[in-house]
C-alpha cells in the first residue's frame, strides 16, 4: 500500500510542481518518488497485502514486477540529458507522465480484477501516447498516432474479452473457472489484447515504428517498464486460466513466432534503435517461455530485471548519440574513443542481451529456460535457444559497428548531468548481478506461486 500511495503522491506533486518550479526540480521529485516507492516495496517485501475489498492485491509477484518498472523509470529519467536537453527536451511534463505510467503499470500488476487491469492499462498507455510525441516532430507524431490507434484497438479487444469473460463467469475477477466457447473466446481476447502491449508476434507491428520514432529515453521506458507491466497482467490471466488445450498451442505459437520473427527481422535493420526494437520483440518471446513452467513468476521477474537493465543501458547509450533521426550503424563507429564510458556500457549491454555469461542477461535466459524445462517443454527450449544464435549475430553486428570498425573521426562525446551516473550504475548492475546471480534472484524467489 505504501508504494501505491507514494506513487500517487509523486504523480500529484510532479504534475503541479512543473507549473511553479524548473524542470530540474520536477525531475528530482520524480526520481525521489520512484526511489521512495521502491523503498516502500522493500519494507514489505515478500508479504501479501490486500485493500479495497481485494481489488488491490500487492503480492510478491506484483512487488517484483513493480520493482522492474521502477528500475526502468529511474533509468529513463537518469539518461534523458545531453543531446536532447540542448534542444529544449524534455519538457517538465515528461517526468510527470513517466510517474503516471509507472503508477498505471503498478496498478495493472497488483490486481486480479480485470476492470482494474484496464484502468491501470489506460493510466499506463495514455501518458505514453503523449510521451511518444513529446519531441514535437514528424517522426514523433507518427509514432504517437500509430501507438494510439493500435493501442486503442488492443484496449478494445481486451474490453470485449472482458465483457465475454463476465458473460461466461458472471464476474470480473480472475480465477473463476469457466468453460464453453464464450469462455475460451474471452480468454483468447484478453490474452490478445495484452499481447499487443507485450509486443508478441503477430501483435508487434507497432513496435519498430513507435520505438524508432519516439525520443530515445521514451523508447527506453517503453522497452522496460511498459513491457514489465504488460507481462504482469499477461501472466496473471494465464495463471488463472491454466495452460490447457488451445491456450497452450496459442502460447507456443506466439513464443516461437516471436523469437524467430523478432530476431530475423532485427538482423536486416540498418538503424540501431529499430534493431533494438525488434530485439525487444524477441525478448518478449523469451520472457513468455517461462510461462510454460510450473511457477513462472520468479524467472519472468528476473528476466525482466535483467532485460530492463541491459536494454535500458543500450538505449541510454543511444540517447547520447541520437539527434532525433535515429542512429545508423555507421554512426556508431569509434564509440570507445569518443567516450570510454559509452563504449563500455554498449559492450556490456549487448553481450548481456546476447545472453553471454557472466552478465545478467545469461542468467535471465538460463532461468526462463530452466522454468520451461521444469514444465517439460524441451523442444520449445531448443528451438528458442536456436533463435538466440540469430540474435547473437546482430548483437555482434551492433558491437562490431561500435568497436571493431576502424574510423578516423572521433568527435568526443561529453556526458553531463545524471547521464554518466545512470550509465555507470546500469553497467555495474549488469556485471554484478551476472557474477552473483543469487543476489538478484533472491528478490524474486520470495514470490510464491501465482494465485490461480
Amino acid at each position: 500500500m505504501t508504494a501505491l500511495l507514494i506513487l500517487f503522491m509523486t504523480v500529484l506533486a510532479t504534475t503541479f510542481a512543473g507549473f511553479f518550479a524548473p524542470a530540474r526540480t520536477t525531475k528530482a521529485l520524480t526520481l525521489l518518488g520512484l526511489v521512495a516507492a521502491g523503498v516502500g516495496l522493500a519494507l514489505d517485501w515478500g508479504t501479501t497485502f490486500q485493500a479495497f475489498e481485494g481489488l488491490y492485491l500487492l503480492d510478491p509477484f506484483a512487488q517484483g514486477f513493480t520493482l522492474v518498472m521502477i528500475v526502468g523509470g529511474v533509468l529513463a529519467l537518469l539518461a534523458d540529458c545531453d543531446v536532447h536537453e540542448r534542444r529544449g527536451w524534455p519538457p517538465f511534463e515528461y517526468y510527470a507522465l513517466v510517474a503516471f505510467a509507472v503508477l498505471g503499470g503498478h496498478v495493472m500488476a497488483a490486481t486480479l480484477h480485470l476492470g482494474v487491469v484496464i484502468v491501470g492499462l489506460e493510466v499506463l498507455s495514455i501518458p505514453l501516447y503523449a510521451l511518444a510525441a513529446s519531441r514535437r516532430d514528424e517522426l514523433g507524431y507518427e509514432a504517437s498516432l500509430k501507438y494510439f490507434l493500435l493501442g486503442a484497438v488492443a484496449a478494445a479487444i481486451f474490453l470485449y474479452g472482458l465483457a465475454l469473460y463476465f458473460g461466461a463467469t458472471g464476474g470480473f475477477v480472475l480465477g473463476v473457472a469457466g468453460e464453453g466457447l464464450i469462455y475460451s473466446a474471452a480468454v483468447m481476447m484478453l490474452l490478445a489484447g495484452l499481447a499487443f502491449k507485450t509486443a508478441l508476434v503477430p501483435f508487434h507491428w507497432w513496435t519498430p515504428d513507435v520505438y524508432q520514432g519516439s525520443p530515445t529515453p521514451v523508447t527506453l521506458f517503453m522497452a522496460t517498464a511498459v513491457k514489465a507491466a504488460a507481462f504482469a497482467a499477461f501472466a496473471r490471466v494465464l495463471a488463472s486460466v491454466g495452460l490447457g488445450g488451445p491456450v497452450f498451442y496459442a502460447l507456443a505459437a506466439l513464443v516461437l513466432l516471436t523469437v524467430f520473427w523478432g530476431n530475423l527481422a532485427a538482423m536486416v535493420q540498418g538503424e540501431a534503435k529499430r534493431m533494438l526494437a525488434y530485439s525487444s520483440v524477441a525478448h518478449s518471446g523469451y520472457i513468455a517461455v517461462a510461462l510454460f513452467g510450473p511457477n513462472p513468476g520468479p524467472a519472468m521477474g528476473y528476466y525482466l530485471l535483467a532485460y530492463a537493465l541491459s536494454t535500458g543501458l543500450a538505449f541510454a547509450v543511444l540517447t547520447q548519440l541520437d539527434e532525433g533521426r535515429g542512429v545508423r550503424l555507421g554512426e556508431l563507429a569509434g564509440l570507445w574513443s569518443r567516450s570510454p564510458l559509452l563504449g563500455l556500457g554498449w559492450t556490456v549491454a549487448l553481450l548481456s542481451l546476447a545472453g553471454l555469461p557472466p552478465l545478467v542477461g545469461f542468467w535471465g535466459k538460463y532461468l526462463v529456460f530452466l522454468e520451461a524445462a521444469r514444465g517439460g517443454q524441451y523442444l520449445l527450449v531448443a528451438l528458442a535457444l536456436f533463435a538466440a544464435v540469430i540474435a547473437a549475430y546482430y548483437y555482434l553486428k551492433l558491437l562490431a559497428a561500435a568497436l571493431f570498425a576502424r574510423t578516423e573521426k572521433a568527435a568526443k562525446v561529453t556526458l553531463s548531468g545524471s547521464t554518466p551516473v545512470g550509465i555507470a550504475l546500469a553497467t555495474l548492475l549488469v556485471v554484478l548481478l551476472g557474477v552473483l546471480p543469487g543476489l538478484g534472484y533472491g528478490l524474486f524467489t520470495a514470490a510464491a506461486a501465482l494465485p490461480k
Binding site: L356, Y366, Y378, Y393
Partner: protein, 472 residues
C-alpha cells in the same frame, strides 16, 4: 588457493586494461604468479591435498560454485598457465589491451577446467568467448569481422543447444543439482539421452574441433593478431576433448555406445583430412591451424575408442598440443616480426644466419611431429594404442595422419631454414631466448617424464571407462 588461481589473472587483466602504460609488466607479473600458483596447485593435488569447494551460486536453481582439481583438470591447467606465461613473454609488441584480454581468458580457462558444476562450467566456457571475440575483433586482420562472425556463430550454435541439453539432462535424468557427482549418478539414456548427447556433442565438436564443424578454425587463426598471442590462447580454448571427457561421455554412456562407430570415423576423417590440407598450406598460421586440427582428430580417435589408454592419450595430447602448438604460433609471430609476413614461400635458408631460431623451430616442430622424447609422442602413442583395441582399421588411418605430420611440418621447416637461397635474419634476442628456453624445457620434460602427468590421468580415465560401462 584454487580460487586465487582462477580469479587472480582476471584481476590482473582488469588492471592491465585500466593502466595501458604498464600493461606488459602487469601482465607478465600476473601470469608469472598464476604459473607459480598453478605449479603449487599441481604439487598439492599430487599430494592429495585438493578438496572440493562448493558454495551456492543460485541455489534455488541448483547451481553451485563448485571447484576442485582432479587429474584431467589439473594437467590441462598446467598447460594453460605455462602457455599463457610463454605467450605473454613472447608477444611483446602487442596492443596493451590484448594483455588484459589474455589474462581474462586465462581466468576463464582455469575456471572451466576446475568447475565441478555443469552450469558453472558452462558459464566459464562461454565467458571465455568474450575476450576471445574482443581480441579478434579489435586487433585482427582485414577479414576479422567475417572470421569473428563465423567463430561466434559456430561456437554459439553448439553451446546454446548444449544449454538445452544441460537442462534436459538434469530434469529428465532426475539429478538434484548440476554437480558432476550428482549428474554422474543419474546418467540419461533412451531417446532423450540421444538428443541431449547430440547437443553436447555439437558444442564440443565445434570446440575440438572435428570435421565438419572445424571451418571457423583456419580463419580464426589467419585473421588474428600476427603476434600469435591470440592464437596461443585460442589453442588453449579448444577444450572440446576435455568437455567430452569430463562432461559428455560419462553422462551419456548409452548414447555414446550407439554413436561410437560414427564418431570414430569422423575423428579419423578429421585427422587425415586436416593433415592433407595442412600439406597444401603456404601460410604459417593456416598450416599450424590444420596441423593442430589433425592432432585433435588423433586425440578424438583415442578418446572415442573407449579405452583408458586412448582417453589418457587424448588429454595428454591436448595438454602437450597447448604448449607446442601455442609455442609454434608464437614462433610464427617471431617470423612475422622479422619479415612482416606469415607466408612461407619468400622465406628460405635462415639456418645459416639464425641457428638459434632454427633450433627452437626444429624442437617445436619435432614435438608436433611426435618424436619420442618430446611432448607430442606419449599422447599420440597412447592414443593409437587405445584405438588399436577398438578398431585396427582406424588405427591405420590415425597412423597415416601422424606420419603426414612429418611431411607438412618438416616440409615447412625445411623451406624456411634450409632451402636455397640463404637469406639473412637476426637470431634469437634475449626475450626469445627466455621464452624459447622455457618452451623447450616444457616440451622435453613432458616428453621424457610423462609419468608425472599420466598417473593422475589414468585414474580419471579408468573412472570414465567404468562409467561408460566398459572397463577390464
Amino acid at each position: 588457493m584454487i580460487h586465487v588461481a582462477i580469479f587472480l589473472p582476471l584481476v590482473f587483466g582488469v588492471l592491465a586494461l585500466l593502466r595501458p602504460t604498464g600493461a606488459r609488466a602487469l601482465g607478465l607479473l600476473g601470469a608469472a604468479v598464476t604459473l607459480v600458483l598453478g605449479l603449487f596447485g599441481y604439487a598439492a593435488f599430487l599430494d592429495g591435498a585438493s578438496a572440493a569447494y562448493s558454495a551456492p551460486l543460485l541455489a534455488e536453481a541448483g547451481v553451485y560454485y563448485a571447484v576442485a582439481w582432479d587429474g584431467v583438470g589439473a594437467v590441462l591447467m598446467l598447460a594453460v598457465v605455462i602457455t599463457t606465461f610463454l605467450a605473454l613473454l613472447a608477444a611483446r609488441d602487442v596492443p596493451p589491451a590484448m594483455v588484459g584480454l589474455t589474462l581474462m581468458m586465462e581466468s576463464g580457462l582455469i575456471g572451466l577446467l576446475a568447475a565441478q558444476d555443469l552450469v558453472l562450467f558452462y558459464v566459464f566456457f562461454e565467458a571465455t568467448l568474450i575476450p576471445s571475440l574482443l581480441m579478434l575483433g579489435l586487433f585482427g586482420g582485414a577479414g576479422r569481422i567475417r572470421a569473428l562472425v563465423k567463430f561466434a556463430i559456430f561456437t554459439l550454435v553448439g553451446s546454446l543447444l548444449m544449454l538445452a541439453g544441460i537442462l534436459a539432462l538434469r530434469y529428465l535424468g532426475g539429478a538434484p543439482s548440476f554437480l558432476l557427482a550428482d549428474l554422474a549418478d543419474h546418467p540419461l539414456g533412451g531417446v532423450a539421452g540421444r538428443w541431449a548427447f547430440a547437443a553436447f556433442l555439437l558444442a564440443f565438436m565445434v570446440k575440438t574441433p572435428l570435421f565438419p564443424l572445424h571451418v571457423w578454425l583456419p580463419d580464426f587463426h589467419a585473421e588474428n593478431h600476427p603476434s600469435g598471442l591470440a592464437d596461443a590462447m585460442g589453442t588453449l580454448y579448444k577444450v572440446g576433448l576435455f568437455g567430452l571427457f569430463r562432461w559428455t561421455l560419462p553422462l551419456f554412456p548409452e548414447a555414446f555406445a550407439l554413436f561410437q562407430p560414427w564418431l570414430l570415423a569422423l575423428a579419423a576423417l578429421t585427422a587425415l583430412g586436416a593433415a592433407w590440407t595442412a600439406y597444401a598450406q603456404t601460410d604459417w598460421k593456416r598450416l599450424l591451424a590444420y596441423g593442430a586440427l589433425s592432432h585433435m582428430g588423433v586425440g578424438a580417435l583415442g578418446l572415442f575408442s573407449g579405452t583408458p589408454e586412448g582417453a589418457v592419450g587424448a588429454i595428454y595430447l591436448l595438454a602437450a598440443s597447448g604448449v607446442y602448438t601455442g609455442g609454434l604460433f608464437l614462433f610464427a609471430g617471431g617470423l612475422h616480426r622479422r619479415f612482416g609476413t606469415l607466408d612461407l614461400r619468400p622465406t628460405s635458408g635462415l639456418a645459416k644466419s639464425a641457428p638459434g631460431l632454427a633450433a627452437l623451430g626444429l624442437i617445436l616442430v619435432l614435438a608436433m611431429v611426435g618424436l619420442p622424447g618430446l611432448s607430442g609422442f606419449p599422447g599420440e602413442f597412447m592414443n593409437l594404442l587405445g584405438v588399436w583395441q577398438a578398431s585396427p582399421v582406424w588405427t591405420f588411418v590415425g597412423f597415416l595422419a601422424v606420419i603426414a605430420a612429418a611431411a607438412y611440418a618438416l616440409g615447412a621447416y625445411q623451406q624456411i631454414f634450409h632451402n636455397a637461397p640463404d637469406k639473412p635474419a637476426p637470431d634469437l634476442d634475449a626475450v626469445e631466448w627466455q621464452w624459447g628456453a622455457l618452451a623447450v624445457l616444457t616440451v622435453v620434460f613432458m616428453g621424457v617424464y610423462p609419468k608425472l602427468f599420466t598417473g593422475p590421468l589414468l585414474t580419471a580415465a579408468e573412472t570414465l571407462v567404468a562409467a561408460m560401462g566398459g572397463g577390464r
